[in-house]
């Protein structure tokens, strides 16, 4: 039995692959790509929400949003750390993001023009992320799975925070309810596109499923999310902007309308409303933070030298 077959057997046995295990080069590469994209998404994902921190309508909303954005930074870290266990270099990963070479979730290229967008993002975008991340808790690569377990624990407050915001608006004045409906109208389709195209149109899916990196198909996850979310919208008296959305008694799932994949591919290519701003913001943050990194470096070097001289003197 060759190494590849042995590896496949190991994975088929629901065993976790750890950093020091032999693994096919393609397994390593595909995981580095997927995990780093996930990490980049967390970090870029901080931007559309950070936009509203200074303008949150109450202290409670402000501290919750701040805590959520801090969490996203932490999530990015867990994921960069997981990618590093596969031999990726952090600075290379960051450089790829800043240069525009690396991809991140297309959802974060949409703008957040109103406070209600904070509700929609927490409820729908984090909701969709949760469906994906719960599945990934069972991914075959150990460090990635463990990062997902940690992230899932923290993610549920994110969704609740978003739903609470939407609920407050939906149960408020007519103008507030309109804000909530408008945000739902703008975020619904991008959110269900987050799961990616149908797996026959998704080039990496088959191998990912075989290696148990991916445990459910894009369509399965999308259906899961829709089935869970429709009653949540109904409870608030909000209408999901899909005229073809309908409960199917036979399948036990909601039928939904045709997705406009052209928009998805366009946004991924870099033509989304905020692609340029997101990258500019990340580059600005990186450049303006350089003095902090340099100062910390210089201090560490100074301390190390001091210690060396002390031992010599002794």
């Amino acid at each position: 039995m060759n190494l590849e077959d042995r590896f496949q057997d190991y994975v088929d046995g629901e065993n976790k692959v750890e950093p020091k295990h032999w693994m096919p080069e393609k397994y390593r590469k595909t995981l580095i790509r997927q995990i780093s994209q996930h990490a980049h998404s967390e970090v870029v994902g901080m931007l559309p929400e950070a936009n509203w921190i200074t303008r949150a309508p109450s202290l409670r909303r402000k501290i919750a949003l701040l805590a959520k954005v801090q969490d996203e930074a932490g999530h990015g870290l867990y994921l960069y750390s997981a990618a590093e266990t596969l031999g990726a270099d952090r600075q290379d990963l960051v450089a790829d993001l800043l240069s525009g070479k690396a991809k991140y979730s297309s959802i974060f290229n949409y703008p957040t023009p109103t406070w209600a967008d904070m509700g929609a993002i927490g409820w729908l975008v984090d909701g969709a992320a949760i469906a994906n991340q719960v599945m990934l808790c069972r991914t075959s690569y150990g460090p990635y799975a463990r990062a997902m377990v940690r992230i899932c624990k923290e993610e549920s407050f994110h969704q609740r925070q978003g739903y609470e915001i939407t609920m407050t608006l939906a149960k408020g004045t007519p103008a507030q309810k309109k804000l909530a409906q408008d945000a739902l109208n703008r975020w619904w389709w991008p959110s269900i596109m987050m799961f990616g195209p149908s797996d026959d149109n998704s080039p990496n899916s088959a191998q990912s499923m075989k290696w148990k990196i991916k445990r459910k198909s894009n369509d399965e996850l999308r259906q899961e999310f829709i089935d869970k979310t429709v009653p949540q919208a109904e409870y608030l008296g909000l209408t999901i902007p899909d005229p073809d959305l309908k409960w199917n008694e036979e399948t036990g799932h909601y039928n939904y309308g045709e997705i406009n994949w052209e928009e998805f591919y366009n946004v991924i290519k870099g033509n989304g409303k905020c692609n340029k701003q997101r990258l500019e913001a990340r580059n600005k943050a990186h450049d303006e933070g350089a003095w902090v990194r340099e100062a910390a470096n210089a201090y560490a070097e100074k301390q190390a030298d001091r210690k060396k001289n002390e031992t010599h003197a002794a």
Binding site: E84, E154, A296
Partner: protein, 96 residues
């Protein structure tokens, strides 16, 4: 962007409550141990997960090789007499 700084990787261990062992929770980059602890506090204890932090440079950790796990661990597998269940104690004795 080409100058690599010397922020090495640290493995982070957290003790969640008195009496429990430190558990590995992940890693982070920091220029020295002091900053590693501060960063670990910010990243890994946001929800009061711990009362003690250990930070260890990643290169200080030596891991056993998965390829050698068989010769390393099988000697223990056939020594069932190391387990209490191997020994028969009469019921009259009660708990032992």
């Amino acid at each position: 962007m080409s100058t690599k700084d010397n922020w090495k990787i640290w493995e982070i261990f957290i003790r969640s409550r008195n009496g429990l062992s430190h558990k590995h929770v992940g890693s982070l980059h920091a220029p020295d141990a002091e900053m590693a602890i501060k960063n670990a506090r910010d990243v890994y204890t946001r929800r009061s997960e711990g009362i003690s932090i250990w930070v260890i440079p990643s290169d200080a950790v030596t891991a056993s090789s998965p390829d050698e796990s068989e010769p390393l661990f099988t000697p223990a597998d056939d020594k069932v007499y190391r387990h209490p269940t191997f020994y028969e104690i009469p019921d009259e004795i009660g708990h032992m």
